[in-house]
Each structure stands twice: as C-alpha cells, then as structure tokens.
Amino acid sequence: MDHEAAPSAVHHHSPPQGFIWKYIFSLDHKVIGKQYYFLSLLAVITGMVLSWLMRLHLAWGTAAIPLLDKLSPNGAPGGVMTPEYYLSLMTLHGTIMVFFVLTTAPQAGFGNYILPIQIGAEDMAFPRLNMLSFWVTFVSFVTLVSSLFVSDGPPISGWTAYAPLSALGSAGGPGLGRGQILWALAIATFCVGSLLGALNFIATTIDLRAKGMTLSRLPLTCWAWFITAILSLLAFAVLLPACVLLILDHIGGTSFFIPAGLVVSDALQPHAGGSPLLWQHLFWFFGHPEVYIAIVPGLGIVSNVLACTCRKPLLSYRVLVGCMIAIAFLSFTVWGHHMFLSGMSPYSGLTFSVPTLFITIPAAIVCLIWLGTVYGAKLRLNTFGLFAIGFISVFLTGGLSGFFLAQPSIDTYLHATYFVVGHFHFVMGVAAIFGMFTGTYFWFPKMFGRMMNETLGKIHFWLTFIGVYCIFMPMHYLGFAGNVRRYAAFTDDYMLPLIPVHKFITVAALTTGAVQLIFIFNLFWSMFRGKLASANPWEATELEWSTPSPPPFDNFGGQHPVVYRPPYEYNVEGATAEFIPQFTPDPVIKA
C-alpha cells in the first residue's frame, strides 16, 4: 500500500441518529471529548470536596463536621473523622485527581475535541476505539467510587498503594481488602482506556494531518498531545501488569510484593519471597512519566494560547518542541528519585539525582522561551491569557521546589514532609489545573458556540491565583519545619506549633474552593445563555478557528482544509494583516 490517503474514505460515517448514538455511544470525537471533559469535571469536584473534608479535619481535628455522621456513621461517628477515614479520603483524593482529572481532561478531554480539527481531519483515526476508551474510563471511575460503598470502605494506602500495606489484604487495616482490590481493578481498567486512547492519538497525528500540515506546522498543542500519547502508551503498559500482580497478591495468594516472616496483629502471614521494592519500581516507572503526562498538554496549551494573547509568534517553536521531547525522554530515567530513602542501594541516589536535575534544563528553557515571548508583546489579556501567564508563574514555583527534592542529601530531610505536598500540588494541582482553565476559557466558544462571561472569568482568575499561593506556598514552610505528610492528625510535640499554619491553609483552601463555584456557574450558564460566538472570536491562527462555532458534524462541512503556513503568525513583519491563519493561501510576506 502506498502513501495515498483518501481522508474522506478513511472513516466516513454519516451523522448519527437517535439520542443514544448522538450523545451516549457517539463516535464523534467532539462528543467524546466533551464526555471526557465532563467526567473530569465531576471528578475534580469530587476530589475537591474530599480535600475540603481532609483540610477541615487537619485544622480542627476534634470538631464534628456537619452531616458527615449521616454520610459515614462508621467512618465519622458523631461527625468526627477516624484516622482511617481520613486516610481513605486522602487515597481517593489523590487517585481521582491524578487519574481522572490530570490524566483525563488535558489529554483525552481537550485533545479529543481539538486535535482532529487542528490537524484538519474529520475525526480521530479510530472512532469506535475512541468511544470504547471513554466508556472504559467511565467504568474505571465507577469502580473506584464503588469502593466507598463496600463495608470496609476505600483503601487507606494512598494513591501510591505501597506494598505490603496494599498487598496484605484486610489484615493490614480497614479498606485494604475489598477496597484495595476495587482500587487496583479500577486503575487497571483505567490503564486499558488510556492505552487505547494513546494509540488513537498517535495514529491520528501521524496519518490524518491535512495536506500542507507538516510536522513543523503542527500547533504546539498537537505536539504536546502527540508526545503525551507516546508517554501514555509506554507508561500505562507498565502500571497495568503491576495492578494485576497486586490483585493476584490479594485473591491468588501470591507474594509478589510480600516478603516472608510478616506478623500482623500477632498472626504470622503465609506469604514469602516477594519484594515491597518491586512494587515501588513498577509503580514509579509508570508514576514519573505519569506526572509529565499530566503537565505536557498544559505546556502545549499555554504555548498555543500565549502566542494569541501576546499577538506575536512564539520566540522559538522548534526549541519548545525539542524541550517537550527532551522532557518526555528524560522522564523515563528519573523514577528512582521517589525512592531515594526506600532501601535501594545508596548508589542509586546519585544515578537518579543527575537526570532529575537535568530535566530542569528543558523545563527552564520552556519557561524562558515563554518569558521571551511575553517580552515586547502586545498583550490582549482575556481570561485565558491571564491563566496562561499565571501558569508560567506557578509552573516556575513548582518546578523550582523540585530542585530541593532532586538532591538525595536534602531529600533526607524533606522526604515525606509537606514540602513534597507543596511541590507536587504546585505543578499538578495548580499548574496543570491552570492549563485546564486556560483551555476551557480559550476553546469554550468553539466547543459550545457561545462566549463565557469575561468579568466572571477574571474574578475567577484573580481569586484563584492568589488563593492557590495562599494554600500551597505555606506547605513548603511546613516542610522545612519537618511537618510529616499523610498524617490524619498532628499530635507530635514539634508539630503542634504548626497547626495555626494548617488553619490558614484550610481557610484558604475552602475559600478558593468556593471561588470555583464562580467558574462552574459561568461554565453552565454560558452554555445556554452566553453570547453567540463567531468562528474566530480570539483572532487566532490555528485550523479550529476556520470552522463555525461549534463545528459541524464532520468538522469542515465536507471541505478538506489545506494548510499553507505555520501557526502563530501574529504581527508578522512586512505583513498587512495583524494575524495570518494557517489556512490562508496567499503569500503575504515578500521573501
């Protein structure tokens, strides 16, 4: 077979009829993208509520939380959380946020909706597989949440589920029997959904680009989704067998992760031969690329939006692409920095520290290129622009705190303290979320055909931006003071003086959480009552802005777009137009 592609013949499906085929089992990437987006929205609200409960308990540990005793009479008798209830909330919070928010919305949500349109395709390469991926992910979410309803509750082992705690079953504590099995089953299912999605993204980006869309004309969002898909394909393929082995340790009597001679509650456990460190290796070999899966789409979205906001080309397209590739490649070499103190050979402290520190170089270059793009720009600060610039700030903060943790000699002190919690929340809980906000405010007109309210958006931005610094910056200070993480309460003498800081964080968290209601309101109200949107309200250059808002069923109304130029041609020297979309044929620059 030669290189001839007949795009319209590749997957020509006619518009679906009937509610089920239009909205439930749709094959349309736009519907599927929205399904992923709304699943993520449900997940982030759930995860946020869990975090509020956690923060309330940490700040006011003996106070009764209203209604909690009705919801969980065993977990929170009289409304006061038991330690295991706290830990189970913490486990669900981490698991839901990392998997169903950070791995889902930026890639499967926005990527599914926008990628095919940005490359000029009618749909993804495998629409049925796409539909399957979403529903598999949905089943995964339901499985995870169902652990709330089994008698022992969700697992208490954290999203990292270290063995033997996670492998010994209910002997180890509440939630570690059926709850842990449901967790492992949910995550294994999620792996399958992600692998199918990754496959789709890669094939689509390689095969379905429209005529003239060379790789060097791909918007940075497409590069980001492509690189993230490759990361996903390789990383989730390792987590899947790890979860299966964990399930086998529960139901098959195996001891993959359990050594001999363990005594729990005076009962000698019948396991032998396994290694808890094996779980950590398998998990973190996935886990580290996973956090880059969470952030790389954000890097792409911010780069893409920044050019539009600054009304100038990015300082260097090629360097940004190169850096994203470098970050992705290096991400497979650093997993041991989560295991400096794990009992591995101390030599590994050095072997993992060096690439971990090196990964800061491409990340720093990305930030500097962004800074260089903002320099001398003609800023048009819509809400999405504010969130994009806010992303730069919080990504810098989060990335710089990584410098401490990358060095094993400092990790000796800071490991498992709130410093780590502050670090990963800045990069994942703030930066990645800012990427999602940027994407939402930027693409909302395209996805829903209406404009969001700018005033509400700006209020949302300001309160959130200040709020997240108030929540997560103090966590670094707590870390310096040695405040240990994953504690249901702070009863140790040296931590008691830190509780006022926790109270401050809790107030900031609840306030910032409440502020998100502005966003939710804006989102849903604008879907139905927002001003109607034109095809290109932001005067952007990428292909999705060439088609109506929202796009027709096959994206381009039967046309086959042709691409003539790279993206981000804003205020190009010598050009008469302020911006030149990618699909503009006439050469307007005299060579």
């Binding site: 830990l87 320099y375 720009a377 730069i392």
Partner: protein, 264 residues
C-alpha cells in the same frame, strides 16, 4: 489587567521570600555530625533557587507590565532571539546542577558511604504497626535471633526472641525509646515486622524507610543532649500519625547508668 498582574506577582514573590529568609518556620537545631553538611546543602540550594524564583517571577511581572499597553505599537522580539535564553539556561542551570551534585554527593556519602565506626554502639530497631521497639544487646554484647513465628505483641515479645533456647537473647534489652550517649557513633539496624515504616528524627537530619524483608543499617552520631521525637514517615496504616518514639541523648555517664538499670 497586566499591570495588576505585575503588582500582585511582586507582592506574592516578596511575601513568599520573606518567610523563607526570616526562617519563620524552619528546621530545628541540628544535633548530628553529618547535619551541618545537609544544612549547608539546603541553604545553598535555597540561595540558588531563591534567586531564580525571585528573578524569574519579577521578570515575568516586568515583561507583563510593559507589554500591557494600549494603542498601536510594534511588537519587539527578545534581543538575540532564543539563543541567549537557551544558552543561559543550559549554562547557568547546568553549573548549578553540577555544583549541587558534586557537593551534595559528598553529603550523601557522609551519611551512606562512610562505613560505621567499629566502636559504634549497636542498637536494633523493630518497627511495627504502630510503635518502634529498640533493642540493646545487653552485657553479653550479642543480639538474640529474631523468630517471626514467636512474635507476640500480646506477650510483649516484640522481637520474637526465644530466651529459653537462645542464650544470646536472654539479656537483650527491649525498650520503647531510643536512649543513646552523646558524641558516640551509633549503628542502628532496622527491621520491620509488617509494613514499610520510616525512621525520621528532624534534628538528626536522618530519615530512612524500614522495609520488611530487609535489614537496613544507618549510623549517626548525636552531638547534643536532649529529648527529641522519632516519627514514622511512611504510611503504614491507620495509626501512622501516632507512631512515634523518643530519642534521648544523654551524657556518657548517665547513659551507662541507664543501661545498667535496664540490664537488671
């Protein structure tokens, strides 16, 4: 909006930096021999990243401030294009990385690659859900063998010792807190009988996971007397937050007295 962003950015940067510079919430006093190395490494990293943090956030603020102008004007390309930025990232960050690695590796080596002093006081640690149990060898200087099948919290046999058949186990001293003499090297061998736990004493600048199935040795020397907290830092179950013990550093003579009373 851009000007407002710049102002807010400056405030956030300065306030964040203030609390760090003032050491408002900071590490407790260091009481270990290798501690000064850790502290210096941290301060140097703080200086380097602190400068980068302040510089980058203020640059962002400045660029946004000046780019937020109304009215027609030309956009400006960053002088030199991407090359100076890439070079400065590679060179500056590269130098910082190499410096931190070389110096830091010495600190790391001082904790993990220096062999323990042959005259160390040997102490055993058995971690379990949710307590630390410390063991001294007693007058015979030998530790009794650990028999997992004999471990019984109910009977207070945390180590699974068999004094009836094991001579060395008869004089082993098992206590719930770690009492050590000041200025004496300690070799602490750690075991876990159930989950992964972790031994952390912030003042000692030492933290190490205790992995079931492995015997993990750490060594340190305390340089000041006092009472300090040992906390577990690896999630081990519902009682993780309350799993703690005390480290008591005594003058040598007081320690000898204490050990003698324990042996009786």
């Amino acid at each position: 909006m851009g000007k407002l962003f710049a102002v807010v950015m400056v405030i956030i940067t300065l306030v964040s930096a203030y609390f760090v510079v003032e050491h408002t919430w900071w590490m407790p006093v260091d009481i270990s021999v290798h501690g000064p190395g850790v502290d210096r490494q941290l301060e140097e990293t703080m200086l380097g990243t602190g400068i980068l943090f302040i510089l980058s956030q203020l640059l962002l603020a400045a660029f946004v401030f000046f780019a937020d102008k109304k009215g027609p004007r030309k956009i400006k390309r960053f002088p030199g294009g991407p090359v100076p930025l890439v070079l400065s990232a590679v060179i500056l960050v590269g130098i910082e990385i190499l410096t931190l690695t070389f110096v830091g590796s010495k600190v790391w080596a001082s904790i993990y690659f220096t062999p323990p002093d042959p005259n160390s006081l040997r102490v055993d640690l058995q971690a379990e859900q949710f307590a630390f149990w410390f063991r001294y060898a007693g007058p015979d200087g030998q530790f009794g063998t650990i028999h997992p099948d004999k471990i019984s919290d109910g009977n207070g046999n945390y180590y699974g010792l068999d004094p009836a058949n094991d001579v060395a186990a008869r004089d082993d001293i098992v206590v719930g807190s770690l009492t050590i003499p000041v200025d004496k090297p300690i070799l602490l061998t750690m075991h876990s009988k159930d989950m992964i736990h972790s031994f952390y004493v912030p003042e000692l600048r030492i933290q190490q996971d205790i992995v079931p199935g492995l015997d993990i040795p750490i060594h340190f020397t305390a340089t000041k007397t006092g009472k300090f907290e040992i906390v577990c830092t690896q999630l081990c179950g519902l009682g993780h937050y309350s799993m703690r013990a005390f480290l008591e550093v005594l003058p040598q003579d007081k320690f000898d007295e204490w050990l003698k009373t324990q042996s009786q």
